[in-house]
């Protein structure tokens, strides 16, 4: 059974239809790379999965929770779906450790001791065990993004959404973040990544979704698609980013 099931989802901003009937099935443990030109609807699709964006018709079901129907139950949905943003969105008034432990403490009502231990564990996981007391402004972009990943992981999500998480980073900082994501993939975390890192999509992804003009234009195993794109659009897209 699919962990995330997206069926014929449509979404318009005003008179512009950005999602024109998108369907994707994602199983537990899948690492899905969503690629496509800007404006193809990939970020909007991602934001629909955890209810940051509403959709007009169709259905998205995550881990048995119907995203469209259960607006009141968003809290349960969001405990199950983590998200990492392009701009990190760390809380600047809190230290790295406090960023990580805030949601476990406030939302999951863990004790300060428990959440502190959890923060330590998660920061260690992303290789920042020694940066717990630093404020975001004292960290590099790559470190900030890794704290953001640790913050999302601290809620023990079933799915992690990554919205172009390396696009705001200097080139030399991209790899340290990708290594963390790769590690998560190896541990069996279900990942949905909107990304421009084609090599990463091919090497780490278990499934590639190519979006074009608001639709899934092509999908399948990344290595096969990269080696032999079926549609001229994908062929052109792969050519343009390489």
């Amino acid at each position: 059974m699919s962990l995330v099931s997206i069926v014929d989802v449509r979404k318009s901003f005003g008179s512009t239809e950005v999602l024109k009937g998108v369907s994707v099935e994602i199983a537990r443990g899948d690492v899905v790379a969503v690629i496509g030109k800007s404006g193809s609807g990939k970020s909007t699709l991602l934001r629909c999965i955890n209810g940051l964006e509403t959709y007009d018709s169709g259905a998205i079901v995550v881990d048995g929770i119907d995203v469209g129907k259960e607006r009141d139950n968003l809290r349960n949905l969001r405990r199950s779906v983590g998200m990492v943003f392009q701009q990190f969105n760390l809380f600047p008034h809190l230290t790295a450790a406090e960023n990580v432990m805030l949601a476990p403490r406030v939302v999951n009502k863990e004790t300060p001791g428990e959440s502190a231990r959890l923060a330590e564990e998660m920061l260690a996981k992303v290789g920042l065990a020694d940066k717990g007391t630093n404020y975001p402004s004292q960290l590099s972009g790559g470190q900030q993004q890794r704290v953001a990943i640790a913050r999302a992981l601290a809620m023990r999500p079933n799915v992690l959404l990554c919205d172009e998480i390396t696009s705001a980073l200097d080139p030399e900082l991209v790899n340290e973040v990708l290594r963390v994501v790769e590690q998560l993939a190896r541990e069996g975390m279900t990942l949905i990544l909107v990304t421009h890192e084609m090599r990463f999509a091919r090497d780490v992804g278990t499934k590639l979704v190519f979006m074009h003009m608001g639709k899934v234009h092509e999908e399948g195993p990344p290595k096969a698609l990269f080696a032999d794109p079926k549609t001229p659009e994908l062929r052109q897209f792969i050519g343009s980013v390489h």
Binding site: R75, N89, F91, H93, L102, V107
Partner: protein
């Protein structure tokens, strides 16, 4: 007939100043509390709640404070409830202050990047939890300077309470003028005392603005 020396006048004005300070403080604190509650309603994204708060704010920002004082002083009396000038002044100034503070603070809340809200939402925070743990701690930094700056308006606003019979600095000035017939001296002193109250506030507002901006 009693002769009033300069010091008599000054001393009596200072005595009345205590009431001006007390009314300012009380109105500012209670106005701040009401304002904070309204701020949650105003930024709640709940349509009718935002509409009602907006209406409230428009009313208290769009009508003269003096008229609001009259409404409380005479209006409540219509229902057969005795209202002291102190109570009416406190109520009117509280609501008036809350309306302005809510708007000032709303601006500060809206200055926090949208990504902060989204990060909170994504981590399953409720609206109140987002405000309490993520938005307000950041917005407060920005809000300190304009809030202290607005306190000057509250201090000056208390002068209107003299018209409904509250014996504050202004009322004491009027009474002393009636007794001494030295309006220029009396009102100059009144103005000086108001200035002595307000200047440190506006000065520290400027200082705070500078300091908090640099630290960012």
């Amino acid at each position: 007939m009693v002769e009033f020396t300069f010091w008599d006048i000054f001393y009596n004005l200072l005595l009345a100043t205590r009431w001006t300070i007390l009314l300012s403080l009380v109105a500012f604190v209670s106005g701040g509390i009401v304002g904070l509650v309204l701020l949650f309603a105003r930024t709640s994204k709940v349509g009718w709640l935002e509409f009602l708060t907006k209406l409230y704010i428009e009313f208290f920002q769009g009508t003269p404070l003096l008229m609001q004082l009259f409404l409380f002083f005479f209006g409540i009396a219509l229902f057969g409830i005795e209202v002291s000038p102190w109570l009416a002044a406190w109520l009117a100034l509280t609501l008036w202050t809350s309306a302005f503070l809510t708007e000032i603070w709303r601006g500060c809340v809206e200055a926090i990047p949208k990504g902060q809200w989204e990060a909170g939402e994504t981590l399953a925070f409720s609206y109140v939890e987002q405000m309490r743990h993520i938005i307000l701690p950041q917005a407060m930094r920005i809000a300190v300077a304009p809030t202290v700056g607005f306190s000057v308006q509250v201090v000056k606003g208390t002068a209107l309470a003299s018209i409904i019979g509250f014996v504050d600095l202004t009322k004491a000035g009027t009474m002393l003028n009636n007794a001494t017939f030295r309006p220029f001296l009396v009102y100059s002193l009144v103005a000086l005392i108001y200035f002595a109250l307000c200047f440190p506030l506006s000065w520290s507002a400027k200082k705070l603005e500078k300091r908090l901006n640099v630290a960012r």
